[in-house]
Point group: C2
Chain length 323, copies 2
């Protein structure tokens, strides 16, 4: 039963995001929507404990993008970063396979300390966001641990070990999410809002960034129940992932990298797919899968592209931007 | 009952050290003694927990000095240090009153993580020293917490809060050491060695750096029992402390800043005081206190001064240097 909503085009936007690509659209949405109209829910399946620090790569990517601190050339972490602590950790014989920049490290130190003092990940994320001047609400999908595990021919390994430690080289045989996670307060509240206008699935990896959010208890059911457009922005451009392991994953797990595979993967959970102009030829097939399709330029080279794509996504489902 | 020792001038040297000044002489001793002939025991009364990290300022000062990484101009921390993590911590609204350099932070992260994993402070200190290429044994006075507390007119406060947070401004009414601490294995072993040749009290603050070591259970008794010279190097030069709050402390607690006050403070625990040439006039009074006195240049401007003073200290008690 999908509930009816008060949707006058001025309603609330719930964005589900992973790291880099998702973070760009999240920043675009934040650029065109007033703070009270946007909730950004971020994947925490990639989170891990490293050297005693709680590291949340996707939350940090979103926070850095919204704060304008993200390194756009490297594609992750903080701009103008330095690596002196990491160099010293290496000299001390500690693990240095995970790139920890000096500024980035401050996020991990503050988060780890506050959580050890008893704060939830939601509370810490709100604290860190506010510290960096972010007015919009950024929250984890859950305050519970749900850890993405990757199956390769060498067995199961933690996501970061595969992603960073092994540079995504081992072919992926399967993915699972370990743990029992309930929705964070921000996610539960956004899904229950009377004025919810749209759910935006950002252009993040469906397997690694969106599936963990869908694996949080109650999320699939709630997304099936919301009576508002659910629009995903495809992470593919010209049939290829802009960055990261998505291309190989689609080949390994879906038999091919195209938007039809993305659409099949999301099944009945989305109504609308925004695809890049270069993948226009596949639009017919998507219509046949029962989806509304919007074709636009989805590559986000800078903040202007981010805002433009955010407007296009909102416009596609008749939701007005504020700015 | 002071035990007899096999002392042929080639025996073992036990150095007790605080931070900066002590670290310089510790580095000098390491420069002139083979690794197997030296144990450096470091004050941990200043240690504290900060942002979830275990910080051991005096151990780090000694380790940096021995590794040649210490900033000689600033007088503490790592040379060529950067402060990006601290700047970000400040932006995040976290405490930034304690100066944490980026390289220095790696020490605290590694130490905190290893200790949380169950390693003792002794084991971690050995690990970090080895990582930085230090062949000599550097160890904490204790693996237990013994925290220096400072009494001011505003009440008791933790040492670092007074030292760094308040820049030593509040006059000191009293000092106490909270906790029950036993000797670290390295300290107990060094005191029990048959070939112990000398105990060197480095030119550190008697109240803040040496007294905590003396407050470790059994240390005063063991120092009273060793049948070897116990030689302290005065931290005063020209009746003034080279650095830090010693001058004010002596005025507040001992009624005056001179070597007679230092000697009285150590009471019967030392036999020999090494003083600076500029304080020569006080030597007679020290003899009257029953002490052997060596007058030399005690200011250590660089590694050559450190080695020279180390040789002078060892020579004063007929212990041979290796190098």
């Amino acid at each position: 039963m999908r509930r009816s909503r008060k949707s006058d085009g001025q309603g609330h936007v719930l964005a589900l995001s992973g790291g880099v690509g998702g973070a760009k659209l999240a920043a675009g949405l934040a650029a065109v929507l007033a703070p009270e109209r946007l909730t950004i829910i971020v994947n925490t399946g990639d989170d891990f404990e490293h050297l005693g620090l709680t590291i949340c790569p996707d939350i940090d990517s979103v926070v850095y993008a919204l704060a304008g601190l993200n390194d756009t050339a490297r594609g992750w972490g903080v701009a103008d970063e330095s690596w002196h602590a990491l160099g010293m950790l290496g000299r001390l014989g500690e693990a240095d396979w995970f790139q920890l920049g000096d500024r980035d490290l401050a996020m991990h130190i503050a988060r780890s300390w506050r959580m050890r003092e008893g704060e939830s990940l939601s509370a810490v994320t709100a604290r860190l966001s506010a510290g960096l001047g972010i007015a919009h609400r950024v929250a984890p999908m859950s305050d519970d641990a749900l850890r993405t595990m990757i199956e390769t021919d060498a067995g199961w390994m933690e996501f970061q070990r595969w992603f960073v430690g092994e540079r995504c080289a081992p072919a992926v045989r399967g993915i699972k999410f370990e743990g029992e996670a309930g929705m964070s307060p921000a996610l539960a509240q956004a899904l229950a809002r009377d004025d919810l206008a749209v759910v935006v699935v950002c252009p993040s990896n469906p397997y690694l960034s969106v599936d963990p959010i869908l694996a949080v208890a109650g999320v699939r059911a709630a997304l099936g129940d919301v009576n508002v457009p659910r629009v995903a922005v495809s992470p593919l451009i010209g049939g290829k992932a802009v960055k990261g392991p998505l291309g190989a994953l689609l080949a390994d797990l879906a038999g091919g990298a195209d938007n039809a595979a993305i659409a099949r993967h999301y099944g009945g959970l989305i109504d609308h797919l925004v695809i890049d102009r270069s993948d226009d030829a596949g639009a017919e097939g998507l219509h046949a899968q029962g989806l509304c399709v919007t074709v636009t330029d989805t590559l986000m080279r800078g903040v202007e592209d981010q805002a433009r794509l955010a407007r296009a996504v909102l416009g596609a489902v008749k939701v007005e931007a504020d700015l």
